[in-house]
Amino acid sequence: MRALKSWEGGLALVFVLTLAWNAAFAPEFLTVQNQINLFQLSIEKIIVALVMTLIIINAEIDLSVASVMGLSAAVFGYLVNNGWGGGTAIALCLGVGLAAGLVNATLSARFGIPSLVVTLAMLIAFRGLARVLVKDNSLGGFPGWVTDLGQKGLVGPVPLSLVLFVLLLAVLWVLLHRTGFGRQVVVIGTNAEVARFSGLNVGRVKAVLFVMSSTVAALAGVLYAARLGSVRGDSALGFELDIITMVLMGGVSIFGGKGSMAGVLLSILIILNLRNGMALMNITGHIQTGVIGVLLIASVLLPNIVSDLRVRRARS
């Protein structure tokens, strides 16, 4: 009973309902291939959402992730089309992500500019770089092994990207909920000043998170390029909103200090399954967006209404 009252409990209930709804009305829903497709069509976003969870719990935000994805994809396309090998290109893309993270970390953790401002600026700057590199073209012609890894199954029908997602989920779950670093992330997110006076190296924790975020985003950018087989200057444009949405719906507080990997995982599962179910029922794009939108508004309003009611009840 108590479990149901928690945010995660509510999400689990919604998730089960979504599964039941899909299974009942979309006969193809429970096939293995559909289950894999459902993840693979959004895999890059959900990978980045995992790190975003830690960032937001830390009371920061990284709006630049989608632009880093786009930049990384653009760098990959550019390098491969200028005679570089696929492996070297991937390594350089991860390097680009690392560097982007260092820029975010330096400006926000070192100079104390709010991450909202810093990463908003970088959202524009990195996207600009990506567009300069690719211009109005569409760059393809990747090595066969890259597109194979992006599109085909690695372990049976399960593609590499899904394997990476599961690994990253496990690592970050342990990191957030079972290590000292994870506790520091939460404590700093709850109150950075108190954490600083308690002797925690606030700047270092934040720097690690920003570098982690951008590097993973760069990896996701390469995965995106490999899955689609070509890149454009607007690759991954606007993904940051979907990513942040997944995290917030997972019960992570935008003010920091609160949230769990379990909640975010459930939120991801709900959104992906809902979209997939609606698609299988031939519900068109505009309505899908609308339904997800309503769900989000509800998920933001509901906790506020509930806590408001509790306060009122306590007063009366």
Binding site: T31, N34, N137, S230, R232, L280, G285
Partner: protein, 349 residues
Amino acid sequence: MKTTKLSGLALAAGLAAGLMGTTALAEAVTAAPGAEVNAVLLPKFLGILPFDQANRGAQEAAAELGSTGTLEYIGPTPENSAAGQIEMLTTATTQKQHVVMLSNNAGDQIAPTAEAAQAAGTKVVTWDSPIPSGAGETVFIAQVDFGSIGVVMADMAYDLAGGAGEFAVLSASPDASNQNAWIEAMKETLKGDKYKDLKLVDVVYGNDQSEESYNKALGLVDKYPDLKVIMAPTTVGIVAAAKAMQDEAMCEKVKVSGLGLPAEMVSYSLNGCAPQFALWSFVDLGYLTYQASYAIATGAIKGEIGEEFTAGRMGSFTIEEDPGRPGAKRVLMGPFTVYTKDNVEAAAN
């Protein structure tokens, strides 16, 4: 309805190729009506008139053929077009749809998904905009010969600019393979001696979004003060550009042309902002696409070069090699119509 039918060199060549294909095979195949064909009509995105017209044509053909299966008209939102199309083609494959009719807006990014669909038994017939490499595509239903569109665009620019001067192209998205092919064909045509005083100064992209296209049109006239013509080979771009020139009271100086729907262009055509533009019938394109898809899905034809099939009220058509895409196949609909103030009102109704 008075229409001016253009027959550029390339169009003539295309027709000749079509006729030769006809003679190669003895008789056109007619698919047996009443089969269960589950089909999806997947436009670039929902919410603009030409795709709705294509759907009307497809529904008409489905009713005529008496398919006992379903015909879904679904599409992504404009801002999510490429990713949305990939997702919807994947879903259609999962649903084991017999055929997906795709107006591709994802360039070659959709090729892996189309190949996976074919491997799982879902045919992919493209219309309006093909898969550039042809990978994963059974056949492309071409509205008109892509080369001939290039000639018509060059000729309209030539006429409106008075034979000399600067003009620019306002296209859809950089990954729209139909528009890209037309612009390339136009550039080829421009190499001809007739067009030597005509200068193409820029190609910009409004991504088939009205506001973006409107702003790109304004950007062009700011950047090129001597610009005489904006050529927009997209029904969204041409309306936006014409409105931009009208709002800025620049229609005397800068003429808008390209591919537009008479219903949306009639006022701009009459007030001189867009004196000349072209298009084909999207209703017919949807109709022919469904007819071909039905014949392919029922196995009446396989989608091989040289096969001839009947398409209801439109007569018979032959699958041929696509001259613009080596190794890929097309069915050529054609011809198209050039609209002026003399015939636009009749067509708009």
